[in-house]
């Protein structure tokens, strides 16, 4: 049994079907790349796993439990935009996570903030978009969770910083967790992904080990993506 099990998942927005019959499992120790064009259903899928959205039909089980507020303790989500209120400083955000999330690793967070050359006293509203993303990423990966969902962690980040962020993610990755990284910047992420999922118009088109794709298709995941879409 995987830490994440999705069966027959459908999600409708009004009459529009955002996800069609999604079946997925995820195990500990995996980094999964979730790739798809804009509007393919990547963010919807992640929001359903964390419990921000509710399935129209089908089931999602996290660590053997149905999604509710309790499962949020073991699912760490990084949204594709800033989640922190603008009144906060980085220190306030740090205290917030420390107060609400058991097992939040203070040292890991402080190390990450140093690594990204940020200071704890800076206000969220004074940070650039890229800096806000770095703070949110540091908060998300400093939590002790069983599933990490990173939605576009490299969106809005310059190419030089992307390398730094990916190194930060890899350095802090826990073997006893599942990490799903959703992005359309495939070439940046494919090197760290153990498995890739292609999603388009709400349907899973491909769910395969990265190595197997390279061996069988004789091309990189990025090349396969460009060929597929």
């Amino acid at each position: 049994m995987g830490v994440l099990e999705i069966k027959g998942l459908y999600k409708y927005y009004g009459k529009k079907c955002a996800l069609k019959n999604v079946n997925l499992t995820g195990d500990f120790g995996e980094i999964v790349g979730l790739f798809g064009p804009n509007g393919s259903g990547k963010t919807t899928l992640l929001k359903l796993i964390v419990g921000f959205l509710r399935p129209s039909s089908g089931s999602i089980r996290v660590d053997g439990k149905d999604i509710d507020h309790n499962t949020r303790a073991i699912v760490s989500f990084l949204p594709d935009n800033n989640l922190l209120p603008l009144w906060m400083t980085i220190k306030d955000a740090f205290n917030f996570y420390k107060d609400f999330f058991p097992g939040f690793e203070e040292k890991r967070f402080k190390d990450l903030i140093d690594y990204f050359n940020l200071s704890m006293n800076r206000k969220v509203k004074e940070l650039s978009k890229g800096e806000q993303e770095k703070v949110c990423l540091s908060l998300a990966i400093s939590r002790k969770a069983k599933i990490y969902l990173l939605d576009e962690p490299l969106g809005g980040i310059d190419p030089a910083s992307r390398e730094r962020i990916l190194t930060g993610i890899l350095k802090n990755y826990r073997e006893d967790s599942l990490m799903i990284i959703s992005t359309h910047l495939i070439s940046d992420v494919e090197s760290i992904a153990d498995r890739v999922i292609f999603i388009s118009q709400g349907e899973i088109l491909l769910n395969e080990k990265t190595e197997k794709i390279r061996e069988e298709k004789k091309m990189s995941v990025d090349e396969l993506f460009r060929k597929t879409f």
Binding site: Y12, F52, R72, F77, L84
Partner: protein, 258 residues
């Protein structure tokens, strides 16, 4: 512990708001006080009371609006919904904050109003203490609860707007129910009073705004006999609880973070 932390961050997030509220209230009373000297003692206690009442009313209305807005812009957002706490507590936290803030605004204005009117009319403080001792404190409490009632009812519209798109019918029903309730609440209560004409007599002091600004304060704090209809009061309390429970339930079971 979770609720205490929610309240803690709710208060921290509104530090500037509380400071602005406090300073602007002081500012208005300071201007009133200075005006008294500028107009060479021509400001009457009645005028001061009217201004105090107006400041309090504006603050209370703004407070209702800010709380409803915070529900939409802060509570139904990623951060609070990420925490492993039953979402109904996020809603109840906002309602509690609304109540505390209403009481804070009341007390702040009462304090300054007493100070300034006492200065203009030296018997005011005694009258006010007398008024509070004779049950006026309950009248003020009821006014506070009425403000909280508005926040709870209005929050239903915000919650309805954050329901999933496949719950269109529920959203529509919630909006219609709340509008109908707001429109016909008074008529319903009078109807209940007529059907079940059982009253209890209370001696609840009134703050008669009309007569206070036109007459003398000296004669306006009285203890008229108050007939409280049992059926309409029960209806009022039940709808208060109904909307609170309904909104908490919707917050927990249906809301989506888009």
């Amino acid at each position: 512990m979770g609720m205490i932390n929610l309240l803690k961050y709710g208060i921290l997030g509104k530090k500037k708001y509380y400071l602005t509220l406090f300073l602007s209230t002081i500012g208005v009373y300071f201007i009133l006080f200075m005006g008294h000297y500028y107009f060479k003692n021509n400001i009457s206690p009645e005028f001061a009371f009217a201004i105090s009442f107006l400041v309090m009313l504006v603050s209370l209305i703004l407070n209702i609006i800010f709380n409803i807005m915070s529900l939409n812009t802060e509570d139904i957002r990623y951060l609070y919904y990420s925490v492993p706490i039953n979402p109904k507590y996020i809603y109840l936290r906002r309602m509690l904050m609304g109540l505390f803030e209403t009481i804070f605004i009341f007390l702040l204005n009462m304090l300054f109003m007493t100070m300034i009117i006492q200065f203009l009319n030296p018997i005011f403080k005694d009258q006010l203490i007398n008024y509070l001792q004779r049950g006026g404190i309950f009248t003020l409490l009821i006014y506070n609860l009425a403000m909280e009632w508005i926040i709870i009812i209005c929050s239903t519209f915000v919650i309805a707007s954050n329901l999933p798109s496949e719950k269109d019918i529920l959203r529509y029903l919630l909006n219609v129910m709340t509008i109908l309730y707001l429109l016909f609440n008074d008529a319903l209560r009078s109807m209940l009073s007529r059907i079940f004409p059982y009253n209890i007599s209370l001696h609840m002091p009134q703050f008669n705004y009309e007569s206070i600004i036109t007459g003398s304060l000296r004669y306006n704090i009285n203890l008229p006999k108050f007939n409280v209809n049992i059926a309409s009061t029960i209806f009022y309390i039940l709808t208060f609880i109904f909307f609170l429970v309904l909104n908490s339930y919707l917050f927990e079971k249906y809301i989506e973070i888009k």
